[in-house]
């Protein structure tokens, strides 16, 4: 299975050197989707305006030994997209077929809020990517970036599509733990946070952060 949540540390008894504050948020669903839309669009804009116009070798600069280059960061994110984009699309379509209606507010599940918080770029928690989401040592930069851009476009469409369904009721199985199903609203939350985190890492690798 491709992709996995970073915080497997959760199950490995992860030590809270900087404790993650659990927040149980309730928020207007449309505003929340607006926020995820804008964050995803900002990533896409950066990739379209800047990254795709750089010499591909720039995406292969390794900042320090053992660190990922930008292409590897994107390959890592792409592996999540390969799992989550079809999973989200399927769940939304099934919900629409069931006649799911949008709920005005979204309330994060405790696990969803926890995952999202943990993923956020300003989270101080160090994480280790699960083995199956670690990108190969050599990544072809042009194809990887093209796929990355494609996935952001697809994500934007899915966020728009999600406006017609209930973000509290539609659930998405987590890639490595299919019995664990996150609310759609939380899936968007952690997915977007995870992307922002690694996009920052990619920018640092390119010396553009």
């Amino acid at each position: 299975m491709i992709g996995a949540l970073h915080n497997l540390g959760f199950y490995q008894g992860f030590s809270c050197d900087s404790p993650v504050v659990l927040q149980k948020k309730s928020m207007e669903a449309n505003l929340l989707l607006d926020q995820y839309y804008q964050q995803t669009e900002a990533i896409l804009d950066k990739a379209v305006k800047e990254w795709q116009n750089l010499a591909p070798e720039k995406l292969l600069v390794t900042p320090q030994p053992g660190a990922w280059n930008a292409a590897q960061c994107m390959a890592h994110l792409n592996s999540y997209g390969n799992y989550y984009l079809p999973a989200i699309e399927k769940a939304i379509e099934e919900a629409q077929a069931r006649g799911s209606k949008a709920d005005k507010d979204f309330r994060s599940g405790w696990l969803g809020a926890y995952f999202t918080k943990l993923m956020l770029p300003d989270s101080k928690t160090k994480m280790k990517s699960p083995a199956n989401a670690i990108p190969p040592a050599v990544v072809e930069p042009v194809e990887t970036l093209a796929q990355f851009i494609d996935q952001q476009e697809r994500m934007l469409k899915l966020i728009e599509k999600a406006r017609s369904v209930n973000l509290n009721k539609v659930r998405i199985p987590i890639s490595i733990l299919p019995w664990l199903r996150l609310k759609l609203g939380d899936t968007f939350g952690f997915y977007t946070a995870h992307h922002r985190r690694h996009v920052l890492q990619a920018e640092r690798a390119m010396g553009r952060a």
């Binding site: 669009e41 990739a47 379209v48 116009n53 591909p56 093209a146 494609d150 476009e153 934007l156």
Partner: protein, 193 residues
């Protein structure tokens, strides 16, 4: 450039139109905004609108029997947009029309547009000239497709619309030129400094 009303926009395209005609034509256009990757016209549907592009990049594309997309044209300001042949003939569109970036338009319906044309025969003449230029553009593109190498097509596009590189994902430009992403990247490397 962002125009606040359709009349100003149209006067930029057709500066010699009498004010009265511009006012009548401008009055049937209404503002419309669309997020990126919004499908505005689908194959088989009669185009409902004639668009004037204020902001953003759009494309028309066909989907072949093999499911592959063929990008036919990009549009951006200042220009008319939409599936013009379907709109003017009121026949089902043979292709798709979508926004590639967040877009703002003025647009009008066929019934409204047609009534202004009937009121002002001068507009028919303007339209004929505009369509002749479009036809010229389509035939020039036909020459490029049939007689140019991929690299020549790339250079022509870079001379005509280099700004597209920073606006839309390169896959659409590569598709318009009939090449894959890797070849496109190689050609881009040759002109990059």
């Amino acid at each position: 450039m962002l125009y606040t009303n359709p009349q100003d926009y149209l006067s930029q395209i057709w500066p010699d139109l009498p004010t009265e005609v511009l006012a009548d034509l401008g009055a049937v256009f209404h503002k419309h905004t669309a997020k990126r990757k919004t499908l505005l016209t689908t194959e088989g549907e009669v185009e409902k609108y004639l668009y004037l592009v204020l902001e953003g990049v759009q494309r028309a594309y066909a989907i072949g029997a093999d499911g592959k997309e063929a990008t036919l044209v990009f549009t951006y300001a200042p220009s008319f947009s939409g599936v013009a042949d379907s709109f003017l003939l009121q026949r089902p569109s043979r292709y798709w029309f979508e926004t590639l970036t967040p877009s703002v338009f003025f647009r009008t319906s066929f019934a409204d547009f047609d009534s202004v044309l009937q009121k002002h025969p001068l507009l028919e003449r303007k339209l004929r000239i505009a369509l002749s230029e479009t036809l010229e553009g389509v035939l020039v593109r036909q020459i490029e497709l049939q007689s140019f190498t991929a690299e020549q097509r790339f250079r022509v596009l870079m001379a005509r619309s280099p700004h597209l590189l920073q606006l839309v994902p390169h896959k659409y430009i590569a598709n318009y030129l009939g090449m894959d992403a890797t070849n496109f990247s190689k050609l881009l490397g040759q002109i990059r400094i």
